[in-house]
Amino acid sequence: MDISPDQIIYWEWGVVTLNATLVFSWVAMALLAGGAWLVTRSLTAGPHPSRWQNLLEVTVLNMMEQIEAAGLEQPRRYLPFVGTLFLFIVVSNVLDVVPGFYAPTASLTTPAALAVCVFIAVPVYGMMSKGPMGYFRNYIRPTPFMLPFNIIGELSRTLALAIRLFGNIMSGHLIVAILLSLAPLFFPVVMQAFGLLIGVIQAYVFAVLALVYIASGTRVQRQQDAAPTPASTS
């Protein structure tokens, strides 16, 4: 039994291996980009958009609302990163129910790569907001002694982010595989449906956590900026 799609290798040349993770990542990417291209080919600004355009608009609008709800003031700046995270993960997870499709997120490599992206994006967005010095000063607050703990916290939450997604998706596979050997009829179907729900929830959790980390990178700045004001009650 294959636990990770990394181990399904279609082609190999030295260190370059073409495994299922990459292939099905490309499938998901092709679906997303191709679908978006097909829909946005014939966009209309009139009062009666097509159903697919409506779907995309609703999706984009809701993602922007979530970004705003996280406390970020310029959702358009964060939408490409956070929205792509959510869409890629949710498409990968949902396609997992298709027979023969291996979700890339079921491999630790993909969540790890995504988590590293978040790990990089947090300081990048932080520095975009306040500049490099303003951002890195957060690591020595409230005292420089907190610098190691802050670094450890940064690393550990990235690791947790990766492991959480991987564990949930991989476990879904594993549970279905185990149940197939115990009760081959009906019950695995229920678990597959449950896996769909879990996949969507995990995509949402991953994206929202990324959002929260990014927001925390900028919110600290704002709190510090607002601190000298004596009338501030925050």
Binding site: I3, S4, D6, V15, V16, T17, N19, T21, L22, S25, W26, M29, L32, A33, A36, W37, T40, L43, T44, A45, G46, P47, P49, Q53, L56, E57, V60, L61, R76, L79, P80, F81, G83, T84, L85, L87, F88, P104, S107, L108, T109, T110, A112, A113, L114, V116, C117
Partner: protein, 278 residues
């Protein structure tokens, strides 16, 4: 569980590529479309606001026009009412004047009819009275009554004044004292003397008095001197009486029917130029 670092790096790059792709084909176009739609909606809302403002302004204008129209209509209505009231009063006054005029005309007509009736009545009364007097006097006429009339005539002759006296004197002068006395009954000598005595005062020459009897004369005496005639006859007396009564009645009716009428009196005798058939 191992991490395939090539796959790790490839996934990292894949994710960056996907961000670029979605940014190019999803977020950009969708956001642009939504922005454009929002802009369009805002533009339409703004246009709707402008149109609503324009409509409200038009409504206000029309309301103002309607108020002005109603005010003008009320004013016109008031004017029409006043004109109608004025016309009504004029018609009523006119009708009243017409009724007054008709009533006045009717009263006038009534008054004239009454006056005419009274005049006719008076004239008939006079005529009847005169006719009665004439018949009575004719029936009673005799020498005695003629003597009375002669006495009255002689007395009148003796006291002629002014114009009548001069006329008689001229007539005597022209006829050289000739005069003719005529009566219905024969005159006695005394009576003739009385007449002669009375006439002597007017004749410068000697009197040549001729006495005649004419039964057609009825009651009365006439004295002809040339073309002049002095007489007292019943016919002439009554004719004078009728003339005077007629004159008095006419004068009375002209003054008003209610004015007291003076009783007409007939002169017993008069000097006048002799008229044919007189």
């Amino acid at each position: 569980m191992q991490i395939d670092w090539f796959t790790f790096g490839a996934q990292f790059v894949n994710f960056l590529i996907l961000i670029g792709l979605l940014r190019r084909y999803l977020y950009g176009p969708i956001m642009d479309a939504m922005d454009e739609r929002e802009h369009n909606i805002n533009a339409r809302l703004e246009e709707a606001r402008e149109r609503r403002a324009a409509a409200r302004q038009q409504v206000e204008e029309y309301e103002a026009m309607q108020e002005a129209f109603e005010a003008e209509r009320d004013e016109r209505w008031h004017e029409v009412e006043e004109a109608a009231e004025e016309r009504r009063r004029a018609l009523i006054d006119e009708a009243r004047a017409e009724v007054e005029r008709m009533a006045h005309a009717w009263r006038e007509s009534l008054k004239q009819e009454r006056e005419a009736f009274l005049q006719t009545l008076a004239e008939r009364a006079v005529e009847e009275t005169v006719a009665l007097a004439r018949r009575v006097l004719r029936d009673l006429a005799n020498a005695e009554l003629e003597a009375q009339a002669l006495g009255r005539f002689v007395e009148h002759l003796a006291h002629l004044e002014g114009e009548e006296r001069r006329a008689l004197e001229d007539a005597f002068a022209a006829s050289e004292g000739r005069a003719t006395v005529r009566s219905a009954f024969g005159l006695s000598d005394d009576q003739v003397d009385h007449i002669r005595e009375a006439l002597r005062a007017y004749s410068p020459a000697d009197l040549n008095l001729q006495v005649e009897t004419d039964s057609a004369l009825g009651l009365g005496v006439t004295v002809r001197v040339g073309d002049r005639k002095a007489a007292w006859t019943l016919e002439r007396y009554l004719a004078d009486l009728v003339d005077r009564v007629g004159e008095r009645l006419e004068a009375t009716w002209k003054r008003g029917p209610t004015a007291p009428a003076e009783a007409p009196t007939a002169e017993p005798a008069s000097m006048r130029r002799e008229e044919p058939g007189g």
